[in-house]
């Protein structure tokens, strides 16, 4: 099923023409999907976040590769916790605003930024610095709103191995371009939380119930959420006590951003920042096994540049 027919179903459902909530199936068109011959990983190191983001996006061929004029773009940061920018539990606001600016330059019609936080959402949006930064852009096309409980739709995950069905956020599924902007940090049960785990922010339901078999289910969620672009914020990373953190003593400054179109490869490279191997993170392995991308870094083309 493609996005167009999906939107049609949502419209019918919203109009009350379908009495039973439809179960969407996004997984059919995955089977035929082929990985490119090589997965590119772009790494920028430096202090100037806007310049690093621009450099990475340019290296990938520019934002127009991902965004066409009038597109609805979803930028999905991690706004999970009521923590300050320095505490490293959320995506850095400058990364988010830089991506939003580039998307605007590419002619985006609307840019939606949202996450489903673990702490009280207003506090997270505010203290992460993300909502104030986006509001300060003063552009009506940039919308940083809290997620609307009414917009979760059930999705059937046909080739899911641990998870067969879950509810997803409609705007995330319907986006013309989905940019995943996680923050890299330690996570008690998943090992690390990177790009793949960030999909947990666009799903409904009681997410705690996923933890009984967390890594396979993270991979299953990524069968549905297929980012066009993943950019991992590793400007500062939480080494311990993640995902919520809370102490600067657990934060290490890395001044690094990692980007790519292969979500598994980007996660695999980011894992090395923690002195771990890609295979140490089970969600990466599970995603690789589902054909979502490469995890062997020797099969990837890595470009590292100082900005």
């Amino acid at each position: 099923m493609d996005r167009r027919s999906f939107l049609k179903q949502v419209t019918l459902w919203s109009a009350g023409l379908l009495t039973v909530p439809p179960v969407f199936d996004f997984t059919g068109n995955l089977a035929g999907a082929q990985l490119p011959d090589v997965s590119d990983i772009f790494v920028a190191k430096g202090k100037d976040i806007p310049a690093m983001v621009r450099h990475l996006v340019d290296a990938m061929g520019g934002m127009q590769q991902f965004v066409s004029a009038g597109d609805t773009v979803v930028i999905k940061p991690n706004i999970g916790w009521d923590r300050s920018v320095a505490q490293g539990a959320n995506t850095h606001p400058d990364v988010v605003t830089s991506l939003a600016s580039l998307a605007l330059e590419a002619g985006a019609g609307k840019i939606l930024v949202f996450d489903r936080p673990c702490n009280e959402k207003r506090r997270c949006y505010q203290n992460s610095g993300i909502k104030p930064a986006l509001d300060a852009m003063k552009d009506r096309r940039v919308v940083c709103e809290y997620m609307d409980d009414r917009k979760f739709v059930p999705v059937k995950i046909k080739n899911g191995r641990s998870l067969r069905e879950w509810s997803f956020y409609r705007d995330a599924l319907a986006a013309d371009c989905y940019i995943n902007v996680p923050v890299a940090k330690h996570h008690g049960s998943a090992g690390l939380t990177l790009g793949l785990k960030n999909a947990m922010g666009v799903i409904g339901g009681h997410r705690g119930r996923l933890h009984m078999d967390l890594s396979p289910r993270i991979a299953d969620l990524n069968l549905v959420i297929r980012p066009d672009l993943t950019l991992v914020d590793a400007t500062r990373i939480l080494l311990r006590n993640g995902p919520s953190g809370g102490s600067l003593s657990d934060v290490k400054i890395m001044d690094t951003l990692v980007a790519g179109t292969d979500p598994v490869a980007v996660d695999a490279w980011a894992t090395t920042l923690f002195d771990l191997k890609p295979g140490d993170i089970r969600s990466t392995v599970e995603a690789f096994e589902r054909g979502l991308g490469r995890m062997d870094l020797s099969e990837c083309r890595i470009q590292i540049s100082d900005v």
């Binding site: 673990c118 702490n119 009280e120 506090r123 009414r150 006590n241």
Partner: protein
């Protein structure tokens, strides 16, 4: 009101003109409506709005309330400086009489508005005025014995609680229910019209999120009773029951500002029959302590001779309560505290009574808390809930954390900020984050890794305390098929846990959580962990 009748010899050169009379009365109504609007606005902004501090909150009304100030001072034996505005109300009442009741009190204004709807008859001959004094004496004497009963009778406690626990959630439920139904089931063009209206209402009128409270029905019925009594006569509550009105009446008794003439005219009974507060007694004398200066009599006087003037504190006729009634109320006020001390809960406190951050030790907390509901109103996770009878009658409506409904947000101090009586002690953020409300305990029969040998650890993820009050220990176990598997088991670091309840809140176990917070009263008892 009727035609003006000019009677030679009775006219006063300083008498007010007809227009002035009407304007003064209108001014009173305008002030009432402004104060009601102020109350509603303060009620609405008693909420998280993006800033960590709330400069203004609905607690202003409790800080103005001399009944709260008196009972808290007596019960806690401390002077709570936060309550200084109550002195303004006392001073104004001493100078001008009960203007607070007639011009300011939002409950009084709401009762007046309601009175226009139900059109109560004239006040009945039988008077229950002694009751308000009896309630005042009961409350204050009980306060001397540290029992805090103000919250059951204080007009603002009744009003704010009723609005917080029942009226506000009901309005929100109905409005969002309607708009959500249209959004989910109506045609797209219709929700295109209704959603902007909904957004506007959300921004201006509605609370941010749907709050749900225990005791919603009970709080509603208590508040509704005040309005229901209006059927028995105008301002029935204010005249006969309100202990704040009684306290202000005692002060107004010596006020030098009096209604002139102080005795009704021999040929006219209007002052007596038309006064809504029934402030003119059967002998035709104006009872200064009952007059709320509503100024109705300026307008309805057919001779335009009524006025208000400083005449000096002439002693007025006696009180509306008899000596025996004073004695009975005082004895009741002394007896009730003893009944609470001899209740078995005093030696078996409920381990689920988890007080908000900053709460005084339990006995002092119960003495200081006036059950106003402001902390529960402002709690951004809807985690604070009113207690029912778990701890006996007296602590009813006091706030407790119910982690299964919501947890205490680590970086939030709003409840502390809105507490008018310092029952929640002022703490800065670092102190609040170290304040121990309770302690989490794992129930290994319910916790998933222990009970089902399945990974989970949602609690550990969410624990906000630095270096985690919930830690993991990796163990190798023989699972139930005999295989050796590695498993991460959570445990509580008791020295670090503050009892915020987020672990219990997010625990995926259905029904009672696998990790539950127990109250500080037990935790703080050192013998509890010395086994």
């Amino acid at each position: 009101m009727g035609d003006r009748i000019h009677v030679a010899g009775k006219s006063d050169p300083t008498a007010l003109s007809r227009t002035t009379r009407i304007r003064l009365r209108r001014a009173r109504i305008a002030v009432q409506l402004i104060c009601l609007a102020l109350f509603l606005w303060l009620f609405r902004i008693t909420e998280y709005t993006g800033a960590d501090t709330i400069p203004w909150a609905v607690n202003l009304w409790f800080r103005l309330d001399p009944l709260v100030a008196a009972s808290v001072t007596l019960a806690t034996r401390t002077v709570v400086t936060l309550l200084w505005p109550a002195l303004i109300v006392i001073a104004v009442t001493w100078v001008l009489g009960r203007v607070f009741c007639g011009w300011v009190c939002p409950l009084g204004t709401l009762i007046d508005l309601w009175g226009r709807v139900v059109q109560p008859g004239k006040p009945r001959a039988a008077s229950f005025r002694f009751l308000k004094y009896a309630i005042l004496i009961l409350v204050l004497v009980a306060s001397m014995f540290t029992m805090q009963l103000t919250g059951f009778f204080d007009p603002f406690s009744l009003l704010v609680r009723g609005m917080t626990f029942s009226i506000d959630p009901v309005i929100h439920f109905l409005v969002t229910g309607m708009f959500d139904w249209i959004y989910l089931n109506g045609p797209v063009w219709l929700s295109g019209v209704t959603e902007p209206v909904y957004d506007f209402l959300k921004a201006v009128v509605l609370p941010y999120a749907q709050q749900l409270f225990f005791l919603s029905m009970m709080s509603f019925l208590l508040l509704a009773a005040v309005f229901f009594l209006e059927l028995a006569g105008p301002r029935f509550w204010c005249r006969n029951l309100c202990p704040l009105g009684a306290l202000l009446a005692l002060v107004a008794k010596v006020s030098p500002f009096k209604r002139i003439p102080q005795k009704v005219c021999s040929d006219c009974d209007l002052c007596r029959s038309a006064c809504l507060m029934d402030a003119v007694d059967s002998h035709g004398r104006v009872r200064t302590e009952e007059c709320t200066l509503c100024l109705d009599c300026l307008v309805f006087c057919p001779r335009d001779i009524t006025t208000f003037r400083f005449t000096g504190p002439r002693s007025a006729p006696g009180m509306d309560i008899r000596r025996r009634q004073v004695l009975a109320a005082g004895l009741a006020g002394a007896a009730l505290p003893v009944l609470t001390w001899t209740n078995a809960v005093s030696s078996l406190p409920d381990h689920r009574v988890i007080r908000p951050p900053g709460a005084l030790p339990e006995t002092d907390f119960l003495a200081a808390c006036v059950r106003c509901g402001a902390c529960m109103k402002v709690c951004l996770n809807n985690a604070l809930q009113p207690l029912f009878l778990e701890q006996g009658v007296a602590p009813m409506f006091t706030p407790v954390l119910v982690p299964r409904l919501g947890y205490c947000e680590f970086n939030c101090t709003l409840c502390i900020q809105v507490c008018p009586t310092r029952a929640l002690q002022p703490l800065d953020l670092a102190e609040k984050q170290a304040f121990v409300m309770g302690m989490a305990r794992f129930d290994k029969n319910r916790c998933i890794p222990y009970a089902d040998q399945t990974p989970c650890l949602v609690c550990e993820e969410h624990c906000p305390v630095h270096d985690k009050a919930i830690k993991l220990e990796t163990v190798e176990i023989h699972d139930r098929t005999g295989q050796v598997v590695q498993l991460k088991l959570p445990y509580v670091v008791t020295q670090r846990c503050i009892g915020c309840g987020i672990c219990e809140h997010v625990c995926p176990v259905q029904g009672p959580a696998g990790v539950r917070v127990e109250s500080r009263s037990e935790v703080m008892d050192e013998s509890y962990y010395s086994y």
